[in-house]
Structure formats: C-alpha cells, structure tokens
Symmetry: C2
Amino acid sequence: MYLTQQTDYALRVLIYAAVNDDGLVNIADIAKAYDISRSHLMKVVTALVKGGFLASVRGKGGGLKLGRPAEAIKIGAVVRLMEPMPLVECFSEGNRCVITAHCRLANILYGSVSAFLHHLDGFTLADLINAPLHKMLHQPAIEIVQAA
Amino acid sequence: MYLTQQTDYALRVLIYAAVNDDGLVNIADIAKAYDISRSHLMKVVTALVKGGFLASVRGKGGGLKLGRPAEAIKIGAVVRLMEPMPLVECFSEGNRCVITAHCRLANILYGSVSAFLHHLDGFTLADLINAPLHKMLHQPAIEIVQAA
C-alpha cells in the first residue's frame, strides 16, 4: 500500500510551514531542509495553496505561510486533497475487471479507505510538531549582531 | 493510495476458487475468466499456496483449491500477506527523510493502516460471493450427455 510522493511531500511542506509560523517560508528553503528537488515541490505547493492549506504572500519579501492554524488542519483532509484513490483496478477509469458489476470487494475497500482517513482525521498538523522538529526546521529571524 | 496488482489478482484468484469449491481450478482457467495474463498469476498463486490460502493438488487431474473454507479467509489476512506497506518514504529501507527521528507522522500512519486492515478483517472471502458472481465464474463439472 502506497501513498504518492506528492502526499508525502505535502505533509513535509506543511510541517515546515507550521514550525516557521512566525514568518514566511519559501520553496527553496523547504527543498534545502529536506534535501529534495524544488521542481518536485512546485506542484505540491500549488495544490496546497489551491486547497487553502497554504497561503501565498506575493511581492518582494513574499513567501508562503499556513492558510489556517495548524490546529485546524486535519491530516486526513490533506491526504484527501493530495491522494488519488484508485485502490485497485475497479476504482479506476481503465477498469477491465469482468466481475466488477457483481463484486462486493469495491464496497468493502471503500469502507477500509474511510477507516484509514477517519483515523487520520483524529490528528491535526499541530499534533505533528514537537520541540526537536522545531529545533531542526525552524529558521531563526535574521538578527542584527551589534559589534561589542 | 494504491494496492499492488498482486493483491488485486490474489483476491480475484480466491474469489474464483471459492465459486468453484466443488472442484479444482487451474491458472489457465482463472486467467481466461478474468482476461489477464497467466504469467502475472503464477507469482500470486505461489504466494497464496505458501500462505495457506490455496492448496495445490499435484498429479494428473490436479489443480488448486481453497486452503481453508471461504468463511475462514479474512480479506485483511490476504491483504497483509500480499501487500508491501511502504506507505511513505520513512517506511522503506531507502528512507532519506531528514526529520524521521522526530516526526510523529509515521506512528499516525501506522495507526491508519491498522484501521484499514481492521475494517477488512470484518469480512471473509465468503462475504464476497453472491449468486451473479457464481453464475459468471462457476465452471460446471463435465457432464456426460447421453444420446437420446
């Protein structure tokens, strides 16, 4: 059973934005923090902005921030947005399975996907953040160091 | 979210064997019934025999049958046998995600996979079989037609 790389990256992007919710973040910094390609992140960020999980602040000094508080972002909602759900062949458009019309498996699998997502709905982005993660991913604001 | 083709085919093979539990079945007939390749089924059948879901009867007139009654085959157990579970990168051996040590997501996802499988454990192979499927997949025993 797999989730797509897009869903995996979407959750990492939101974790990064949640840890840095005292400022704006950008794709280059996220890519650097996780050592993943910027081009992979572009599509993910676009989907998260469209879905309201991220907000884009334009202009010089612009960047990205959470679209709503971390406590209001359910993990299940992020997975629902990002993840296609063609669990087996009969869920997809190209379905050729000859027993589809009479098979009870699809309904049972729909139920199991619901159980999967329902479990994830019990957690928010805020539940993912802890002190070590904060230390690892937080970008301190630029400080002006005064000469002694 | 995807299950592998192997899991999909494993369930179809077991449905076929369950419908034909008054006799033995073989890979060629299963492949023909579902219009899928025999070579794809070989590996699946080997795994199902090894897992005890199918029994192989050797020799002339041999074939395959359910390894236990359909009522005793939980769908969750078949999925557990067949399905690798590298849900996201941090579940797999090649994991490079830098926040793995402190991220709570893996535990939450483990819980959601458990919920997925627990739902499937509520159903057995017998729950998948119904009259139209039986009509569609059952191979009648060879009848000796007497001349009038």
